[in-house]
């Protein structure tokens, strides 16, 4: 190939985006060109071609960033704590801006970071596949906007020479994540490591961040190899070779575990002993959750409460929630590179260091 591929990682300043950029830079010698677009510069790396500060809700900034790129990997989103219109503005319209810019600048591939929750709303889910439909009613606005944006991305596949793919990771965690392991760390610091809900008999998927990043890179390469090989003779190649373009893929560590075993592991690594000794039966949890829900509804006109113990969360924790990733394995050639336990070990090290720093301060 005469020219190097140039990747744009949108949201590359964030937890996942940063790992994608780093793994891309380590993926080959010489590495491809990598540019990041994010609201704020969160880190600097001399290997990056550029770190563009810009807002994906601004079509002009997005267009400028996409110019001259081979692949765009779109990981940016607002996750929690914003008013409803912001979710639509960033997660949905922002994605539309990126699609438009890709088409305008003849970008060959777009990889979109979706979420496994676009098909999940608290039901008991075992070995779910991509054939499952989107939720009629989504868990929250975040998931609703992620599902809508994913549909935009997948519908844009093939239009104007752009190949698109959507990845749906489940339960991303890793050193410094803002959600899964941070939530557990915060809970532990608050002393909430003593009780659990249910009897720990249901399976749950977690995914180490490097595996999710790895899947993004695989998906991008898959789209590129297809785009470059689509000479007229090969266009009628047999359908048996499944294509990634226009498809959504669940991405997990392929190691569902009983829900409370992961918190138990992290708490133990953080030095907490005898954790999760108080078991709240599922039925009691559901009743307590309902009481909390009612309380939230009653005080809603006066004060907005965001409790962690809700009926919905009790339901999620005490239901199975894991996915079958056969499609990602066969089509993308995806295999988790970091086993669950190793991912947890690295995550625990991070939080131990955080803990040490905070007690020293």
């Amino acid at each position: 190939m005469a020219t190097k591929d140039h990747y744009l990682v949108v949201g590359g300043g964030g937890f996942l985006g940063k790992r994608i950029a780093e793994l891309l830079l380590e993926s080959a010698t010489p590495p491809p060109l990598v540019t990041i677009l994010d609201l704020r510069r969160t880190f600097s790396d001399p290997r990056l071609t550029a770190f563009i500060e810009g807002d994906i809700t601004d079509p002009v900034a997005v267009s400028a960033a996409c110019k001259g790129k081979t692949v765009v990997i779109h990981t940016a989103a607002v996750i929690e704590g914003f008013p409803v219109p912001v979710y639509w503005k960033v997660n949905y319209e922002g994605t539309q801006n990126i699609i438009n810019a890709c088409r305008h600048h003849a970008v060959r591939a777009l990889v979109y970071t979706s979420s496994a929750s676009v098909t999940y709303n608290g039901q008991d889910l075992r070995n779910g596949t991509e054939a499952d439909p989107y939720c009629d009613v989504h868990m929250d606005t975040y998931n609703e906007t992620k599902a809508a944006a994913e549909q935009l991305v997948l519908e844009s596949n093939g239009v104007g020479g752009l190949a698109t793919v959507s990845l749906r990771p489940a339960g991303i965690f890793g050193p410094g994540d803002n959600n899964a392991s941070k939530g557990l760390y915060d809970a532990a610091k608050k002393g909430n490591w003593k009780f659990m809900i249910g009897d720990n008999s249901t399976l749950f998927d977690w995914t180490y961040v490097d595996n999710v990043a790895h899947a993004h890179i695989l998906a991008a390469k898959k789209l590129l190899s297809r785009a470059s090989s689509s000479s007229p003779q090969q266009q009628h190649s047999p359908e048996s070779e499944e294509t990634a373009a226009g498809q959504a893929f669940y991405i997990t560590n392929d190691t569902p575990t009983f829900f409370w075993d992961v918190p138990k592991y992290l708490y133990n690594e953080l030095g907490y002993r005898n954790t999760l000794r108080t078991r709240i039966p599922r039925g009691v949890g559901m009743i307590l959750g309902a009481v909390v829900d009612a309380l939230v509804a009653i005080v809603a006109p006066f004060k907005k409460l965001t409790p962690t113990f809700t009926r919905f969360r009790v339901k999620v924790i005490t239901n199975n929630r894991y996915l079958d990733i056969a499609k990602a394995k066969t089509v993308l050639g995806y295999v988790p590179t970091v086993p669950l336990e190793e991912g947890l070990r690295r995550t625990a090290l991070h939080w131990k260091a955080v803990d040490k720093a905070s007690t020293a301060a």
Partner: protein, 446 residues
């Protein structure tokens, strides 16, 4: 069955029920079994040889003879003879009074001996409990030669492979290494369990397929690997359970590359049996439990392939006993303190009665996977030497995941553990009724 079995199950009414049901079905006598076996060839009268074989079967393992008795006529006799031949081979292997050169020759040649009418072996050590079988082995040979040729072929083939395999593990104890057998690596542990137990699974599978009670494809290469792992699982559970007993007899089956990580510098495996090293011993045990648990999905896969109800039950009963045993001694110091650890007789009988179909087998496996996982979670942070927590958790999760994938219908997750809780419900009920009766709460009719 003894009164002690009933007493041990006194707090488990469902086991008591199982024990009584078991007691009410008569145990097969040697003569009734041999008659059943001869039934198909009605021209041939049950011979004394045949009766003697079932007598030996009863002596070697009473519960196993019951399981064999339940097999279809077509398979009963081939399996009985297969079992006796392997038992004889095993007795030779175990016998520490025979010198290595002679033992090696005999083990390698055993597959020829079963074709030699009149051959017997009278030099077994006094301690060998099955030495009588070898002293009268001509009886087994007669019956072997009376089997259909397709069965003879399978039995001879497995005997040849197993005998040759066993010779690789014989050692003469020295002052530096006082063990008759010592397994160096995990790889070697896997090969050893393949020879002594995996091959049994393979041979049985070949017999099932040859009998046409199961489809011939049961013996396909992929399924043969499952059969191998089925046998390995049983053997590994026994090896873990019998650590102390084997050690006392100079045999160490636990792989050295694992236990060496847990014994103090310069010490040998016997350190694990000392109270002061209990934490290390348990950590070592649990690491090997993970290795065994990983075989369970293959065992379930194999059982799901079986169609014939008697063959299914024949395979499922030992598997159920093994998973229950594993649950019993997982993370348990008793492995290093007492010999002859066994699950309660009542529980064993209950499991036998539950081994009739895949559905109840799946329910039991799910309950045991959850039970082991719960013990695992409870043990976190209590033993710094134990690094197996996540590995046990994942292995248990894999078992439940397998069951989900092969479930007939979706159930509420809570139903899974009800089997283990049921005993308490029944017990409380019984106590309430008993109290009511004792207090004279029922109206006097007379």
């Amino acid at each position: 069955m003894s009164a002690s079995a009933l007493l041990a199950s006194a707090a488990h009414p469902t086991e008591l029920y199982a024990l009584f049901r078991y007691l009410l079905t008569p145990a097969p006598s040697a003569s009734s079994l041999s008659k059943q076996a001869a039934h198909r060839k009605s021209a041939v009268a049950p011979t004394a040889n045949r009766a003697r074989c079932y007598h030996f079967l009863n002596l070697t393992s009473r519960s196993f003879s019951r399981v064999i008795a339940a097999l279809d006529d077509e398979l009963r006799h081939p399996v009985c003879i297969f079992y006796l031949v392997l038992r004889a081979l095993d007795t030779v292997e175990d016998d520490m009074t025979i010198d290595i050169a002679r033992k090696t020759l005999l083990l390698k040649d055993f597959h020829n001996k079963i074709y030699q009418r009149g051959w017997t072996f009278k030099e077994s050590g006094e301690k060998e409990k099955d030495r009588q079988l070898l002293q009268e082995f001509d009886v087994v040979i007669e019956e072997f030669l009376g089997l259909d040729e397709k069965y003879q072929k399978v039995i001879a083939d497995i005997t040849k492979r197993m005998g040759a395999g066993m010779t690789q593990y014989l050692a003469a104890p020295t002052p530096e290494n006082p063990h008759f057998i010592e397994i160096q690596t995990t790889a070697s542990y896997n090969v050893y369990t393949h020879y002594v137990a995996g091959l049994v699974g393979i041979g049985l599978t070949d017999l099932f397929a040859a009998s046409r009670l199961e489809v011939p494809q049961l013996a396909s290469p992929a399924n043969i690997e499952l059969a191998n792992e089925m046998g390995q699982f049983l053997q590994k559970v026994n090896i873990l359970k019998d650590f102390l007993e084997d050690l006392q007899e100079g045999r160490v089956f636990w792989p050295k590359d694992v236990w060496a990580k847990y014994v103090p510098e310069g010490r040998s495996v016997d350190a694990l049996a000392e109270l002061e090293h209990q934490d290390a011993a348990l950590a070592c045990l649990n690491e090997l439990v993970v290795d065994a648990l990983k075989l369970v999905p293959s065992c379930l896969n194999y059982m799901a392939l079986l169609h014939n109800p008697t063959v299914f039950q024949f395979c499922a009963i030992p598997q159920m006993m093994a998973i229950a045993t594993l649950d019993h001694f997982y993370n348990s110091p008793s492995v290093f303190r007492t010999t002859g650890t066994k699950i309660r007789r009542g529980l064993a009988v209950k499991l036998m009665l539950a081994s009739k179909d895949m559905h109840s087998v799946k329910r039991k496996y799910e309950a045991y996977a959850l039970s082991i996982n719960r013990k695992n979670a409870d043990a976190v942070g209590k033993n710094d030497k134990d690094k197996s927590f996540m590995k046990v958790a994942v292995a248990c999760a894999d078992i439940v995941k397998w069951i989900h994938m092969h479930d007939d219908a979706k159930r509420t997750p809570q139903a899974a553990v009800s089997g283990l809780k049921f005993d308490w419900v029944v017990m409380i009920g019984l106590v309430v009724i008993a109290t009511a009766l004792a207090m004279g709460m029922l109206p006097t009719v007379l």
